[in-house]
């Protein structure tokens, strides 16, 4: 069963990608991905640039509305996502809890909708 691990990071997490905490930040992620791969869990996904780089588009009445943005102005912001293939929610939650963002921001786990 495929699950998305949606990574929500704080402003301080995003800053840690390039300040003096960067080595620790990236090392934690590298170790996490290595653990996933070592456990033989099929995974995919992408990391995203900081929310300041986001642009929101809507089309209303045939007109395109482009806005600076991330979509939601929340304390934690989407930092990336992973998909993993594990037997059930409990195992997905196990891997979500190990994800570095779980202890500094939040991680949302959702089953992937199977395509017919």
């Amino acid at each position: 069963m495929k699950f998305a691990i949606i990574i929500l990071e704080s402003a301080s997490d995003f800053a840690s990608r390039q300040n003096e905490r960067a080595p620790a930040y990236w090392e934690a992620w590298k170790a996490y991905m290595a653990a996933l791969n070592e456990a033989g869990i099929p995974n995919g996904g992408a990391a995203l640039q900081a929310p300041e780089t986001a642009t929101v588009v809507r089309v209303a009445d045939g007109r395109r509305l482009v806005q600076d943005g991330p979509y939601a102005d929340t304390k934690e912001q989407l930092g990336g996502f992973l998909t993993i293939d594990v037997p059930d929610l409990d195992q997905a939650l196990h891997w979500a809890a190990l994800c570095p963002a779980a202890s500094s921001g939040a991680v949302e786990v959702r089953p992937v909708l199977p395509m017919m």
Partner: protein, 415 residues
């Protein structure tokens, strides 16, 4: 089989549902993790029984009959449902691993129905399920209570309760919640949630001032669930502790209200207590103690046990109770536990010491305490015992204002 009278069929079906609803639904839901589909299939089978049993007679093993028909209906539905094509294959695969489908009317033992009720209890109390719906979910899926009855106990509209239950079942089906007994390592938390949900079904407070008469209907259902957990997990001390706690509370049902009037615990007539329930509760306390694994429910059961000793003509040991509450507030530092501790310390030592505990509680949680009825009721009683009539009257007015239960209100406003 011979034809059966309609009333005999109704009686037989009522008995099967009361006895085996949880076992049937749990075994039907397991492979597809789909509780709604399992309940629908069982409903189909019950309808067929209503048509066929008056003609064919009541089968010797009614559970096995219903299980066989339900599994067929479950498979039929899965095949029809093109959106969930995968479900039919999964079901077929699981049927292959089990005894081959049985012919209707054939005499087979109900023992062939796997008992997945423990897994079902853990599913209902899974951390991914909203805590407020765990108890209703257990009552419906394990005991077969209808949403209307559950709704009235939880003070919500039946339609609202129905929606919450459907949402929870959809989440169980789609979110990948495993239909399994969790690994031992996760038990402290997971079994705790199961026991909490059963305790919530009983719905009693720490000091009986919070007892809500509208919940009373569910108390026997809660005891049924607690018995089931003890039966399925005989080695879990806390399961025995919970059953003991519920039995002690239940034993005082008739003494708690006399002619509609509220009677506080230490004023209750011992003769009105249910001695059978008390004996069983003491036996459960012993069972728990033998497992040497103390926990929250056992501590609460021990408090009840000390009050229940009045049954043997013994006085209440207030010092012993104060010691127990010192342990309880460490394990579960809830508002209710702290207030109950203050009440007991007020009796064991002096009202002033109890009042001091309440004062420090109010300093730490001013907003919660302001609207917590047992706090004001306990404060009123302690102030009165300390001889401070003016402050006691003020606290009593607050307690009355926060009371929903007319019998408790009448007791607080007594002259």
């Amino acid at each position: 089989m011979n034809a059966a009278h309609e009333s005999e069929v109704h009686e037989a079906l009522r008995a099967v549902v009361a006895r085996s609803h949880g076992r049937l639904v749990a075994s039907l839901a397991r492979s597809g993790r789909d509780l709604s589909a399992a309940e629908d299939a069982l409903a189909d089978a019950l309808r067929e029984a209503l048509e066929q049993w008056p003609v064919l007679g009541v089968p010797r093993e009614p559970e096995a009959w219903l299980w066989t028909v339900s599994r067929r209906r479950l498979l039929d539905r899965a095949r029809r449902d093109t959106v969930r094509r995968g479900a039919a294959e999964a079901l077929l695969a699981s049927f292959d691993r089990e005894p081959s489908p049985l012919e209707l009317g054939e005499v087979v033992s109900s023992d062939v129905i796997p008992d997945e009720r423990l897994a079902l209890l853990f599913v209902c109390a899974h951390p991914a399920i909203d805590p407020s719906v765990r108890t209703p979910l257990m009552l419906q899926t394990v005991l077969g209570l209808d949403a209307g009855k559950i709704a009235s106990a939880f003070l919500v509209a039946p339609a609202t309760m129905g929606q919450r239950l459907v949402r929870a079942k959809t989440k169980i089906r789609d979110a990948g919640i495993p239909f399994e007994v969790p690994v031992r390592r996760d038990w402290p938390e997971r079994l705790g949630s199961v026991l909490e949900a059963i305790y919530a079904a009983y719905g009693t407070g720490w000091d009986e001032l919070g007892v809500d008469a509208r919940q009373a209907d569910l108390s026997r259902e809660a005891i049924t669930l607690a018995r089931l957990v003890v039966h399925l997990l005989p080695d879990e001390a806390e399961a025995h502790g919970l059953l003991a706690l519920l039995l002690f509370c239940e034993s005082r049902r008739a003494a708690r209200r006399v002619d509609g009037r509220y009677v506080p615990l230490d004023a209750q007539e011992v003769a009105r207590w249910d001695f059978g329930a008390i004996d069983e509760a003491f036996a459960e306390v012993d069972e728990a103690a033998r497992r040497a694994h103390l926990g929250r429910f056992q501590l609460e059961a021990l408090v009840q046990a000390m009050h229940a000793r009045r049954r043997f003509g013994e006085a209440v040991d207030w010092d012993g109770l104060a010691a127990l509450y010192a342990a309880i507030v460490r394990v579960t530092p809830t508002l209710g536990a702290h207030v109950a501790q203050a009440a007991v310390v007020g009796r064991a030592r002096s009202p002033r010491e109890g009042i001091a505990l309440l004062a420090s509680l109010a300093a730490a949680h001013p907003t919660e305490v302001a609207r917590y009825q047992p706090y004001h009721a306990t404060l009123a009683a302690l102030l009165e015992a300390a001889g401070d009539g003016v402050a006691a009257a003020e606290a009593r007015t607050r307690a009355i204002g926060l009371t929903e239960d007319p019998a408790v209100r009448a007791w607080l406003t007594r002259g």
